[in-house]
Subunit: 96 residues, 2 copies
């Protein structure tokens, strides 16, 4: 097995949860449809209101870079930004 896992923790502005979830659903669909190097991309709630975690997996570093550079990530990321209370916290995990 190989690959790179990512746990991204996102915190929304109060009251922006529904808008955030809607835009994120578009982003997740675009990632899965367009990124051959992505094998997992799913949004979860946590026990804390407005705090979400995205579990992600990519084939390699190039696939992570392709994700960040993609049109859909740039466009939808710009729409997510105003929903968020600060920068996402990103944990990168090498697959075993």
């Amino acid at each position: 097995m190989s690959g790179i896992g990512v746990i991204a923790t996102l915190r929304t502005q109060p009251g922006k949860e529904t808008e955030f979830e809607g835009v994120f659903a578009e982003l997740a669909a675009a990632v899965r449809a367009n990124e051959a190097g992505n094998s997992y991309y799913k949004l979860f709630r946590t026990g804390e209101t407005g705090v979400y975690k995205v579990l992600e997996c990519y084939d390699d570093d190039a696939a992570v870079e392709a994700h960040r550079a993609s049109d859909h990530f740039r466009t939808l990321g710009a729409k997510l930004g105003p929903c968020l209370a600060g920068a996402p916290e990103i944990e990168r995990l090498p697959a075993v």
Copy 2:
């Protein structure tokens, strides 16, 4: 979308990393082969030696319970136990 995500953090005894990874590979194969309600189960390293995270996803609570009650989880879990330095830390995340 629905489901239940799990982030399990496991810490091995020093020097037990290779044995742990070998048994875990058997467990992951058994989970994916036998659990219809499991959609993701993958082991990652972290930045800290001997600390691993498992990213998991299940269809529902029943699928999580089926995982814990399965023969492969009980049998291989018993083989993993002596490799670990303490109980796993489990974070449960409702899918959006």
